[in-house]
C-alpha cells in the first residue's frame, strides 16, 4: 500500500527538479576507516606483545579478550583526539552495543552447528521407521531408530495443540474483543501462567491426572502437561496479534451493523490469520522440545506405541535425555542423532512460521485465489 503510494508520488515528481536529496546521517568518512583499521592493527600488535611475551598465560580466548580491550582503548583515544570527548563516548558505546548484539548470536550458531555436526553422520533412513526393540546398548549407533519417539512427540504435541490452540485463541479474543470485566485479572494470570516452570506443569499433571484421577502414564498425560505450557504462549502471542488489527476495521464492521460475533469471525480473525498461524507454529516449536514435564508423564518406552491413550509412550526429547546419560558410546551417539532430528524439526517449524508471518493480511494464497475466482470476485 505505502510502496505503491510512494511510487505514484515519485512518478509525478520525476519530471520536476529533484530538490529533495535525502541527507545521510550515517556517513562513514575515510578518516574513520583509517582510524579503525589502524587501531585494530596496533591492538593486535600490542596484545601479541603483552600476551605472548609479558604475561604467563595463553589461549585463544584470552588473546581475543586482550585484543578487544586494547582495540577499544586505542580507538577511543584516537577518536577523542580527532573529534572530542562526546564523539569518543559515542564511539565506545557503539562498539560495546555492536559486540553485545553479536554476543547473542554467536552461541546460537555454535549450538546449532555443534548439534548438527554431532548428529548427522549416524542418521540413517531407518531412524524414521524403526524403534529400539532389537537394539542393545552395544549395538552399532546406526542400528534401530527413533520412530517410536517421533510418533510419540507428534501425537503429544498434536493433542496439546488441539486443546490449547482453540482455548488460547478464544481467551485472546475475550481479552481483546470482548474485553469484559475479567480481562485485567486474566492478563495477570496468563502472565503468571507463562512463568510456570515446565517441571511444575509436569508435576501438576502427575498430581491431578495420574495420582488423583487414577490414570496411567501415557501420551495423553504428556500432552496435557504440554497443553498447560502451551496455553499461555498461544494466548499471549495471539493477543498481541489481535491487538495489531486496526481498530478502524472493527468500527467499520460495527458501523455497518455487524454484530460482535460477525465482526470477530469475519473481520478480526481473518485479518489476523497469518499472525495467528505464526503464533501457533512458534508455540509448537517451543513446546516440541520440552523434556521436563514428559519425564513425569509419558513414562518413556523403547518400542513403538502409536496409541497415545494407553500405555507408556516415548517422545523425542525424552529419548535424547535418557540415551545421552548412558555410558556406552553408541547410545550417546543415538541420542545425538535424536537431538539432530529435533533441531531440524524446530528449525523447519521456525522457517515455516517466518515465511507465513512475513505475509501481510492482504496476502491472497493460491487456493484462496482459486476460491475467489470461482465466486467471480477476482
Amino acid at each position: 500500500m505505502t510502496t505503491t503510494l510512494n511510487r505514484t508520488l515519485n512518478d509525478s515528481s520525476e519530471d520536476k527538479i529533484n530538490t529533495e536529496e535525502r541527507i545521510k546521517i550515517r556517513d562513514i568518512e575515510i578518516v574513520d576507516v583509517i582510524v579503525m583499521s589502524g587501531s585494530a592493527v596496533s591492538a593486535l600488535a600490542l596484545s601479541y606483545f603483552f600476551f605472548q611475551i609479558l604475561l604467563p598465560v595463553s589461549g585463544v580466548l584470552g588473546f581475543l579478550v586482550c585484543w578487544y580491550v586494547f582495540f577499544n582503548i586505542i580507538s577511543t583515544v584516537a577518536v577523542w583526539e580527532l573529534r572530542g570527548a562526546v564523539k569518543a563516548k559515542d564511539h565506545l558505546a557503539r562498539t560495546f552495543i555492536w559486540t553485545g548484539g553479536m554476543a547473542a548470536v554467536v552461541p546460537l550458531i555454535l549450538v546449532l552447528v555443534y548439534v548438527i555436526g554431532k548428529g548427522y553422520h549416524s542418521l540413517r533412513p531407518q531412524f524414521f521407521t524403526q524403534d529400539q526393540k532389537f537394539v542393545g546398548a552395544l549395538s552399532d549407533s546406526t542400528e534401530g531408530g527413533g520412530a517410536h519417539a517421533i510418533i510419540g512427540t507428534l501425537q503429544q504435541v498434536g493433542l496439546a495443540s488441539l486443546i490449547s490452540v482453540p482455548l488460547g485463541i478464544t481467551t485472546a479474543v475475550y481479552l481483546n474483543e470482548v474485553n469484559g470485566r475479567l480481562a485485567k485479572p486474566l492478563r495477570i494470570i496468563i502472565d503468571a501462567m507463562s512463568a510456570v516452570p515446565s517441571i511444575v506443569a509436569g508435576l501438576f499433571i502427575y498430581a491431578a491426572w495420574i495420582l488423583a484421577l487414577g490414570n496411567q502414564q501415557n501420551g495423553l498425560a504428556g500432552s496435557l502437561a504440554l497443553a498447560v505450557l502451551f496455553l499461555p504462549t498461544v494466548t499471549r502471542t495471539s493477543e498481541v496479534v489481535l491487538r495489531l488489527v486496526p481498530g478502524g476495521l472493527r468500527e467499520a464492521s460495527l458501523a455497518l451493523g455487524g454484530t460482535e460475533w460477525r465482526t470477530t469471525s469475519r473481520v478480526v480473525l481473518p485479518t489476523a490469520r497469518s499472525g495467528l498461524v505464526t503464533a501457533v507454529i512458534l508455540g509448537v516449536a517451543r513446546v516440541i522440545g520440552e523434556t521436563a514435564p514428559l519425564i513425569l508423564t509419558v513414562g518413556g518406552a523403547f518400542v513403538m506405541n502409536a496409541n497415545p491413550f494407553s500405555g507408556k509412550q516415548d517422545s523425542l526429547p525424552y529419548f535424547v535425555f535418557r540415551l545421552i546419560r548412558f555410558p556406552q558410546e553408541a547410545q550417546v551417539q543415538r541420542a545425538w542423532t535424536g537431538a539432530f532430528v529435533l533441531v531440524i524439526l524446530v528449525l523447519v517449524l521456525f522457517i515455516i512460521a517466518r515465511a507465513i508471518g512475513g505475509r501481510g493480511p492482504d496476502h491472497i494464497s493460491r487456493s484462496k485465489k482459486r476460491r475467489l475466482q470461482r465466486k467471480g470476485l477476482a
Partner: protein, 336 residues
C-alpha cells in the same frame, strides 16, 4: 485497546445525567460472549488447580516436615530422614543470578542494537535470530553445555579461581591446589548455559519498551546535536527503565524454573555454599527431575512440596515483573 462503544455497558462519562447506552445483543453475540468468557474462566480455574493440587499432594510431606522444610538442607524423605529445600533454594538463586549477570548486559546491548543501531536488514535477521534462540529446546542447550561448553569453560573457571580468588564467590578452597577436575558440573557452568535461555526473554521485553520511546524526544535530542549514544542515554534508557528491570525479572523467573539443562550439567550437592566455581550444585527443578523416578509415594509428596515452593517463588517474581513492565508500557494499540 479499541474503544468498543457497543460492547461497553458502562457510561463514557461519570456524570449521571448522561444516558447509559442500551445494549441489545443478538443471540449469536450472547453465545459468542458466553464461549469467550468460558474459555477465560477455564484458564483461571487451571491456574488455581495447579497450586491446589501441588498443595494437596505435597501436604503429607509438608505436615511431617513443618517449617523445617525451608531450613533443612538434606533430602532423604524416603529413608525417613529429614528433608527440605534449604540447600536447593540458594543454589537455584545462584544459578539464576549467574545467568542474569551474563544475560542482562547482553540482552540490553542486543535490544539497543536492534532498536537503535542496526541497519534495517540486519535488524530483521537479528530479530529472527533472537526468536530462534528462544525456540531452541533447553535440552539442546543442555547437551551443548555439557559436551562443548563445559570442557572449555572450566579453564576459565580455573583462571578465575586462581586470579580472582579474593572475590567471595570465586574462592575455591582445596588443600591440593586447583586442578581442572575441580570445576565441571558447577553452579557457574549451569548458570552460563541457562543465560542462553534467558537472553531472548529479556531482549524481547527490552526491545519492545525501547521501540516505544517517544519519537518526539528522540528527534529533539538529535536536533540538539546529540550523538546516537546521547539519545540512547538520555531518552531511550530512562524511558525504558521499567522494561529493563521487568525484563530482567522475567528472566530471573525463567532461570529459576529451568530444568533440563541444569539437570544435565550439575552434580547434585546438598550443602549450600558461597563459591560458584567448584563442583556440585543443585536446583529445585533439577532435584524433581532427578529424584522423581526413584521416589516412593511419600518421596513424591515431598517433591510436590518442593515444586510448590518453586511455583510460588516464580509466581511472585513474575507478578512483580509484569507489574513493572506494564507500568512502563504506554498506549499499545494501533488505530487507523
Amino acid at each position: 485497546m479499541s474503544e468498543n462503544i457497543l460492547s461497553e455497558g458502562t457510561p463514557v462519562t461519570s456524570t449521571s445525567d448522561v444516558l447509559t447506552p442500551v445494549v441489545r445483543r443478538s443471540r449469536a453475540d450472547q453465545i459468542f460472549r458466553g464461549i469467550a468468557t468460558t474459555a477465560s474462566v477455564t484458564t483461571f480455574i487451571l491456574m488455581g488447580l495447579i497450586g491446589t493440587f501441588l498443595l494437596v499432594k505435597g501436604y503429607d510431606a509438608l505436615r511431617v516436615a513443618g517449617w523445617s522444610f525451608l531450613t533443612e538442607s538434606a533430602w532423604a524423605p524416603d529413608q525417613g530422614g529429614a528433608f527440605g529445600v534449604a540447600a536447593m533454594l540458594p543454589y537455584t538463586v545462584q544459578i539464576a543470578l549467574v545467568a542474569l549477570v551474563i544475560a542482562v548486559p547482553v540482552a540490553l546491548c542486543t535490544a539497543l542494537f536492534i532498536t537503535e543501531y542496526a541497519p534495517r536488514k540486519l535488524r530483521r535477521i537479528l530479530t529472527a535470530m533472537i526468536d530462534l534462540l528462544a525456540a531452541v529446546p533447553s535440552l539442546i542447550y543442555g547437551l551443548w553445555g555439557l559436551f562443548y561448553l563445559q570442557p572449555r569453560l572450566i579453564t576459565l573457571s580455573k583462571w578465575m579461581a586462581d586470579h580472582l580468588g579474593w572475590v567471595p564467590f570465586f574462592t575455591v578452597d582445596d588443600q591440593y591446589g586447583t586442578s581442572l577436575g575441580l570445576f565441571p558440573s558447577s553452579t557457574f557452568v549451569a548458570g552460563v548455559v541457562v543465560s542462553l535461555m534467558v537472553i531472548p526473554i529479556c531482549t524481547v521485553v527490552m526491545r519492545e519498551v525501547f521501540s516505544q520511546a517517544p519519537a518526539g524526544e528522540r528527534e529533539g535530542a538529535m536536533a540538539l546535536g546529540g550523538t546516537r549514544w546521547g539519545v540512547v542515554r538520555d531518552v531511550v534508557l530512562p524511558f525504558g527503565r521499567g522494561g529493563i528491570i521487568g525484563g530482567s525479572m522475567l528472566g530471573l523467573g525463567r532461570a529459576m524454573g529451568e530444568t533440563i539443562a541444569v539437570t544435565l550439567i550439575i552434580s547434585p550437592s546438598f550443602d549450600a555454599k558461597w563459591s560458584i566455581l567448584d563442583q556440585g550444585s543443585n536446583s529445585i527443578a533439577a532435584l524433581i527431575a532427578l529424584k522423581f523416578s526413584e521416589s516412593s509415594t511419600f518421596g513424591i509428596s515431598a517433591l510436590m512440596a518442593a515444586g510448590l515452593v518453586l511455583f510460588v517463588i516464580t509466581l511472585i517474581v513474575n507478578a512483580a515483573a509484569s507489574t513493572v513492565v506494564s507500568k512502563s508500557r504506554s498506549g499499545a494499540s494501533t488505530e487507523i
